[in-house]
Each structure stands twice: as structure tokens, then as C-alpha cells.
Subunit: 115 residues, 2 copies
């Protein structure tokens, strides 16, 4: 990446902050990654992402608000709710791919004692 | 991005979590972005990233521990400390670039009322 000038640095800072505002924190990108294998019910998501129901509910609400996840109430007995990624969430693919690659590489580096 | 199978989903989840463990949170990627314009003193960093000294100190310590930032004590009067990105921090370029692009695009989408 090219070195930043003061102006481009300010722009970059703002853009990174914007992204962190929407998908920062411990869970949202993990939830998107989990939902990439298909729509899931609340309990299923809670189990697969290893996240408590209380926090999951809050995270999903924020993700829905930001257009990343859609929530569908199914007319079953008892009523069930399913969560699915929106097409807009796919705009985060590059972010997710880069983070997956880096996490994978970083773990390998640590295992090999290289840094 | 290809849809995940259960196995590749578990791998992806772990890698994303690893990345979030190292550079998640509100500040570290912003600090890297700020340091891309060159080494900086503690107060300069605190000002440019708009981060309180107490939190900045903790963030920098963690970043140093993970090999992302190097700390140099300069033999001046009074003693000053300078922080600089390590070559290893450059491995995060793709993550930063993707987040910059997404944040920029997301802000534009909101301004234009498209989502």
C-alpha cells in the first residue's frame, strides 16, 4: 500500500472507522462467515458461532439495521425465525477474504515461530 | 466468495477470529493506518488517532507484543519515544485496503440512499 499523505490518511482513517463501526467488534464478521453456508435459525446460529443468545440478538439486530442480514419469521408451530445474508452483505467479501487469509497465515507463522 | 462447507466454515471462522483477536477492536487498524504516513511520537499518535493516552498505551503495547509496531526510545532531553510500523505489519495491507474500500463505498451508498 502506498504511504499516506495527510489528506489521504484522514480519508483512510475515516473509511476504516466507518467499516469498524458497522462490522467491528468480536462477532459480526464471524456471524457473516457462519451464515455463508446458508440461512440459519437463531439457536443454530447461537450454537455455531458460540455466542450467547442475549448478545446474538443484539448483534443480529444491528446487522439487520445495516442491511447485512434479513430476518424471516416462519409460520411454523412454534414460530421460528430464520436469518439469512442479504446480497448487500456480499460487498464485504473482500474484507472477509483478507481477514481469513491473514488469520490463517498469522497462525501458521506463530506455529513455525516466524514473525 | 464460494459458499462454505461445514469444514471450511470452521476454518474460516477460526481464521477470522484469530485476525479479530490481533487487530479487532476500535483502534489497532486505525493506528496502523495513521502510522503508515511514518513514525510518530506518543502524543502525536494520541492526537492524530483521537485516542486517550491510557488506551493508546495499552493498544501500542499489544501491537508491539504481536510484532506490528516497534518502539524506539530516543536519547533526547526529555527522553522521547517513537512508534513505527514493522515490516510484519505490511502483511495486513490487504485487510486495511479492503476495509478502506468498503468503508468508503458504504458511506457513499448511504449518502446516495442506496443499500
Amino acid at each position: 500500500m502506498a504511504k499516506h499523505t495527510i489528506e489521504s490518511c484522514a480519508k483512510a482513517k475515516m473509511a476504516i472507522r466507518d467499516t469498524l463501526d458497522i462490522v467491528g467488534g468480536k462477532w459480526k464478521l464471524v456471524l457473516i462467515s457462519v451464515l455463508q453456508s446458508g440461512k440459519k435459525g437463531f439457536n443454530e446460529l447461537s450454537r455455531e458461532a458460540a455466542i450467547s443468545p442475549r448478545i446474538l440478538s443484539k448483534e443480529l439486530q444491528e446487522m439487520e439495521m445495516n442491511g447485512l442480514v434479513s430476518r424471516k419469521v416462519c409460520d411454523t408451530k412454534p414460530v421460528t425465525v430464520q436469518y439469512e445474508l442479504t446480497p448487500y452483505s456480499e460487498t464485504l467479501d473482500d474484507v472477509l477474504t483478507a481477514m481469513e487469509k491473514w488469520g490463517f497465515q498469522h497462525r501458521n507463522n506463530i506455529i513455525q515461530g516466524i514473525k
